[in-house]
Amino acid sequence: MAFDLGAARQRCLEHRRRILEISQRVSALHIAPAFSCLEIVDTIYYGLRNQDGRTNDRVILSKGHGCMAQYTVLESLGILPREDLERYCTPEGRLGAHPDYGTPGIEASTGSLGHGLSIAVGIACAERARGGDGRAFAVLSDGEVQEGSTWEAVLMASTLRTTNLIAFIDNNDFQSLGRTSETHPTFYPLEDKFRAFGWDAIEVCGHDAQAICEAVSSRSGDKPLVLICKTVKGRGVSYMENVPIWHYRAPNPEEYQLALSELREITS
């Protein structure tokens, strides 16, 4: 199946609308982190996962707080029924503000940062040991790259040569309290750090589905691959972009209308 970029852009617009719609019923959701990784998650599911006859690719959303992106994509795929998102964060439902293993389409429970990459390494190792061709896709926030456990996993992936592992860093340069680069002035350059640990590292625009697909398909070599996906936190709604409060906040009715009126297909 060829990847249809126009359809991807249209889908991501719908995902953003859906997330905003849900935010008017339940305020407990991380809109900006989801908008940041939306194109990455959509591209993994629609453009990479189980392509070329594979059947056992796994997707680990290590930045579990971005799960609205995953929920809306899974809903669009028909993996999560619409009722599940309607009942998001209610006692009648089963979806919370972090993904739970056992929910349709959710392949690991996350929420505490720094767990997902090791889990993905384990998934990749099991697959290789049994001779399968499945891959593990792990989506990390840039904030969680600060966790020591993430670097344990980076080292292990390299040591174990898990070439069937692809990590995506949602590099929006923000964490809860402010800019990642201000929290840690030596945080960048990220690519060099991964390369020093034995990875292939490629920087791409994280809102460009085509660039993400091409980077993954262009890989060569026998190293684990990380895409440093340059993103904008809150992408798509001007007043949310790069404003830390929208890590947590839900828009009020006026802000909601303004956001809807602003939403467009994102073209780069």
Binding site: R58, V121, A153
Partner: protein
């Protein structure tokens, strides 16, 4: 105990491709070295990276495998605690965390190497089971169980190597989740688990020499604890003694007291545990236990005195 674990896991793992052994910088001796040689894809040494050890085990289990994480107890459980809780407990995955040298077995290495509250810490995690065999024979049975069960994560507390065999003439077989009578008497019951059960056996001998009829019970499954079994112990003996190489909170002694209260038990109940302290003592395992107050002679005279009163 350690060698029997490795030998048993080799027997099972060399035939079952779901078995993985993930160690953290522990030199694989004996059968474990054989496993590494014959099944290199399923033996992983993460080095000094215990969080990754547990996370990788979770990923292996999420992809259909039955992994064992293996290192010194404190590093297996405390360092990666949140991975044990979230990745294994919350997701309820069939991963066994093997803690070597549980209790104060590493008696010359100091408090950093003493897993004296590991049973309480592991037991506090929902879905987690906890097993602490008392000798190599129980370790073999427990390892077989861990390698084949599907119910969730297990913390398996082992000693090290060369411990005496205590259960060769046990009157009951080992079963997960069940108390095991090693011998059965009528007056006193001594409940214990893990290596320190050797002390319990010695005490049982001494009490028998005094003419008392003694039950000796291995409570190797700490979670789920065999509550009906404990109730039976408390109801059918005039005196129950718990000897435990663990902090006073959250282990066998505390739970036995709780059950005794719940059922209004009429027996006398004495418990001997490690102290709620970091004791700066270096010596033999026996020296460490004695420093914590676990000394057979002392317990015997204590019980004698209690009996006289």
């Amino acid at each position: 105990m350690r060698n029997m674990f490795a030998e048993t896991l080799y027997e099972i793992g060399s035939k079952d491709p779901r078995i993985f052994i993930v160690v953290a910088d522990i030199s694989p001796a004996g059968s474990m070295a054989k496993f590494r040689e014959e099944c290199p894809d399923r033996f992983i040494n993460v080095g000094v990276a215990e969080q990754s050890m547990v996370g990788i085990c979770a990923g292996l289990a999420l992809n259909g495998c039955q992994p064992f994480a293996y290192t010194i107890a404190t590093f297996a459980l405390y360092r990666p605690f949140e991975m044990v809780r979230d990745d294994l407990g919350y997701q309820n995955l069939p991963v066994t965390i093997v803690g070597i040298g549980g209790g104060v077995v590493y008696s010359t290495l100091g408090g950093t190497h003493h897993a004296q509250e590991d049973i309480a810490v592991a037991s506090a995690i929902p879905n987690m089971s906890v097993i602490a065999p008392c000798d190599s024979l129980e370790a073999r049975e427990a390892t077989r169980y861990c390698a084949t069960q599907k119910s969730g994560p297990i913390y398996l507390r082992l000693g090290k190597a060369g411990e005496p065999v205590l259960t060769q003439s046990a009157i009951e077989p080992w079963r997960f989740g069940k108390l095991r009578y090693l011998r059965r008497g009528e007056d006193v019951c001594i409940l214990s688990y893990g290596l320190v059960l050797g002390k319990a056996a010695e005490l049982a001998d001494r009490l028998e020499e005094q003419g008392r009829s003694v039950s000796l019970v291995s409570a190797s499954t700490l979670k789920p604890l065999d509550r009906p079994g404990i109730e039976g112990v408390l109801s059918s003996h005039e005196q129950v003694v718990v000897i435990e190489e663990h902090a006073p909170q959250g282990g066998l002694a505390a739970q036995t007291k709780q059950i005794a209260w719940d059922i209004r038990a009429q027996c006398r109940l004495n418990t001997y545990t490690l102290q709620d302290q970091f004791i700066h003592c270096y010596g033999s395992h026996d020296d460490l236990l004695a420093a914590h107050g676990i000394d057979v002679g002392k317990i015997e005279s204590d019980l004698g005195g209690l009996r006289a009163r």
